[in-house]
């Protein structure tokens, strides 16, 4: 992997500080802690960022989208630091890197027909296009996501189902022919029976148009279905990264093991093993020292509480941030992405 990555985060940390109100001291939350990730254009990467709510996965995606800037570390777009991208270059970036958000109800203006949501980006990025050309582009994109033009255009958002609305959003992202799509929980608010069609249209975009995809999710089953690599986050830190196959099928980090074990499998003959799961992550961001998972970890050791573990390269396609694997060589976080992601 010698080529410059399309999008890269190198050791990024994002700290949110809240100013104290009367009588209360301000608090800081480390939403993303030393995360690294590289997305390649050829072959296009398809990477999952997975974790529970509060794990920092959405913050990491917003850093990659350039919507917020990191407290420390850097984000690069085609080798250029994000802060340096301004003006016309920023426009090109906005076009090349498309986002799909979680809630297909909130992203539409209810007063406009859905055509509006599709027209605006073309007018903005390709003002020279005629109405007929715009229409052709829209129809082509709707076709890729499996929507019928006559059943979609001319309608208001409330006349479409959640699944259709989300597919229109996929079409909108595809229309501009981006190099990468950042999809933040695109199916979590859609019925299970419709999820398949949305994920399928994303995967088609990847296969047919060579679009790289960052799929942000808490659902490990769909992450496994869609992606080739995965980055597991806990409390802002990367806990396990590598090829999706070994990470999900044979998780090594105790947290990944807990998550994989909690997936409700649609098979009544394989029910949850009666394991006492430890209490949730809520309110446990305060530990600044040591491994963020130590307070919940069933296999916690003394060292875990004092020093955060580095990522250990346990095999050619995976690294785990856990002292249980300290026999393996440690890797610097900025090298992790080059090693695993995007293969």
């Amino acid at each position: 992997m010698n080529a410059t990555p399309l999008l890269e985060a190198r050791n990024v940390t994002k700290v949110f500080a809240s100013r104290g109100t009367i009588g209360a001291r301000g608090t800081t939350t480390v939403a993303v802690n030393q995360a690294s990730l590289a997305i390649h254009a050829t072959p296009p990467s398809i990477v999952a960022i997975a974790g529970e709510s509060g794990s920092g996965k959405t913050t990491l995606s917003r850093l990659l989208l350039g919507l917020i800037s990191p407290t420390s570390g850097e984000v690069f777009y085609r080798g250029r630091p994000m802060e340096a991208i301004k003006g016309a270059e920023r426009m090109a970036f906005r076009r090349d890197v498309q986002a799909i958000f979680q809630d297909p109800f909130e992203v539409y203006n209810p007063f406009y027909r859905v055509d509006h949501a599709l027209e605006v980006p073309i007018r903005r990025f390709e003002p020279h296009k005629s109405a007929a050309e715009r229409r052709a582009l829209i129809e082509q994109a709707l076709d890729v996501v499996g929507l019928r033009v006559d059943e979609t255009l001319g309608r208001y958002p409330h006349q479409l189902s959640g699944g259709q609305r989300q597919r229109v959003m996929v079409a909108r992202a595809l229309m501009l022919n981006p190099s990468i799509i950042v999809a933040d929980e695109p199916v979590s608010m859609v019925d299970a029976s419709l999820r398949a069609s949305i994920l399928e249209s994303l995967l088609n975009a990847h296969d047919q148009r060579d679009i790289a995809i960052i799929y942000i999710t808490h659902d490990l089953t769909t992450a496994y279905q869609v992606c080739t690599s995965i980055l597991m986050m806990y409390s802002g830190a990367m806990v396990e990264v590598g090829s999706v196959e070994p990470v999900i099928k044979d998780p090594l980090h105790p947290y990944t093991q807990l998550l994989v074990g909690s997936i409700p499998l649609p098979d009544p003959t394989r029910r949850w093993a009666a394991v006492q799961a430890s209490s949730s992550a809520a309110g446990q961001h305060s530990t600044t020292q040591g491994c963020p998972y130590a307070p919940r970890c069933p296999q916690v050791m003394d060292i875990c509480r004092t020093e955060a573990p580095p990522l250990y390269a346990v095999s050619a396609n995976r690294a785990v941030a856990c002292y249980l694997y300290r026999g393996a060589p440690a890797v610097a976080t900025e090298d992790v992405s080059a090693l695993y992601i995007g293969a």
Binding site: E52, S161, A192, H218, D219, Y224, Q225, P264, L265, P268
Partner: protein, 323 residues
């Protein structure tokens, strides 16, 4: 098996709109045995939440219960006066609502939510008894007693959902209705909440109806499962049998769409769209999307029929199986 604790017969709920009635639940019929865990699944708009709200007579206008019986230990809930029905809610049949975050009063301490509920049914309880009882309740759902002094915003989503479970059981109901109790929670918390709910249900020997669209969760939790489509129950049977051999084509397709860890990048959606409940097509609501539709599916409405012991299905493809 003893007599079922809850018998639902031909329950119909319509939402009256200017364009005509939306038939959100049509002829829903099922039995719930004592200590049984039943799941009710369907896509959004299939009528599952409407059905369970109707069991509690909590459908609000423009929704109206247009017919049917709900027998709780043989007594018809539909025949009760509003005041009698109010006494039943919570004490005989209780609801654990969908969005726990929106179900608690933000300016009331957790403790006062319990006191309100209990005192509404039993004025005779002393302050000390109340405190002891609520203490036991929060402990039963795995929370520390200090949450009783807290306000809802001080609790995490999982804790709030557990408070709602504790409130749902505070009067020891015979039937607990849980409407997507974990849909807003992470997988680990979801599992903890479901395990809590299951343990409580066993202790109380209560029956439970779990409403949701997550087939994975259903497979993990329930004994019996009912599948709703366009306002009707299309299949009902023991969960292992329904997953092992789904009889209704919709159930089969729904199970096929589930992502699993056994195969990668295979997506099978169900083609087509759910019909509008306003102008429902004649005949079977699923016939337009059904791969097995036969000659008269577009004109005849199929009735839920017991085709094998304990297995009910509304599809002519299996009418022969009964013989």
């Amino acid at each position: 098996m003893s007599a079922p604790v809850l018998q639902v017969r031909n329950l119909c709920v319509h939402y009256e709109t200017d364009a005509g009635p939306v038939k959100a639940a049509e002829n829903v019929t099922f039995d719930l045995a004592r200590s049984e865990r039943m799941g009710l699944v369907g896509e959004s708009g299939s009528g599952k939440s409407t059905t369970v709200l109707a069991l509690l007579r909590m459908v609000t206008p423009p929704g109206r219960i247009r017919g049917g019986q709900v027998l709780l230990d043989g007594a018809d809930l539909m025949a009760l006066s509003p005041e009698q029905m109010r006494r039943m809610r919570g004490s005989a049949i209780s609801l654990i609502p969908q969005a726990a975050m929106n179900s608690l009063n933000p300016v009331m301490r957790v403790r006062d939510h319990f006191y309100d509920t209990i005192l509404a049914h039993d004025r005779t309880m002393s302050r000390a008894q109340l405190a002891a009882h609520t203490g036991e309740l929060v402990e039963a759902v795995g929370l520390r007693p200090n949450v009783l002094r807290m306000y809802p915003h001080e609790l995490s989503g999982g804790m709030k959902q557990r408070v709602c479970i504790a409130m749902g059981i505070c009067l020891r109901p015979k039937v607990i209705i849980a409407d997507e109790p974990t849909s807003a929670l992470d997988v680990v918390v979801q599992r903890q909440v479901m395990e809590t709910l299951g343990r409580i249900q066993r202790q109380l020997e209560a029956s439970i109806i779990l409403v949701g669209h997550d087939m994975g969760l259903m497979a993990q939790f329930v004994d019996k499962i009912g599948i709703m489509y366009a306002g009707r129950l299309v299949e009902l049977g023991p969960v292992t049998e329904v997953f092992g051999l789904p009889l209704h084509p919709y159930t089969r397709l729904l199970i096929n769409t589930l992502p699993s860890l056994d195969a990668k990048a295979v997506f099978k959606g169900i083609p087509g769209q759910t019909p509008s409940l306003l102008n429902a097509p004649a005949g079977c609501a699923f016939h337009e999307r059904c791969p097995d539709a036969v000659g008269d599916c577009w004109k005849a409405q199929h009735v839920l029929t017991e085709v094998l012991p304990g297995r009910w299905v509304a599809c002519p493809c299996h009418a022969g199986a009964a013989a």
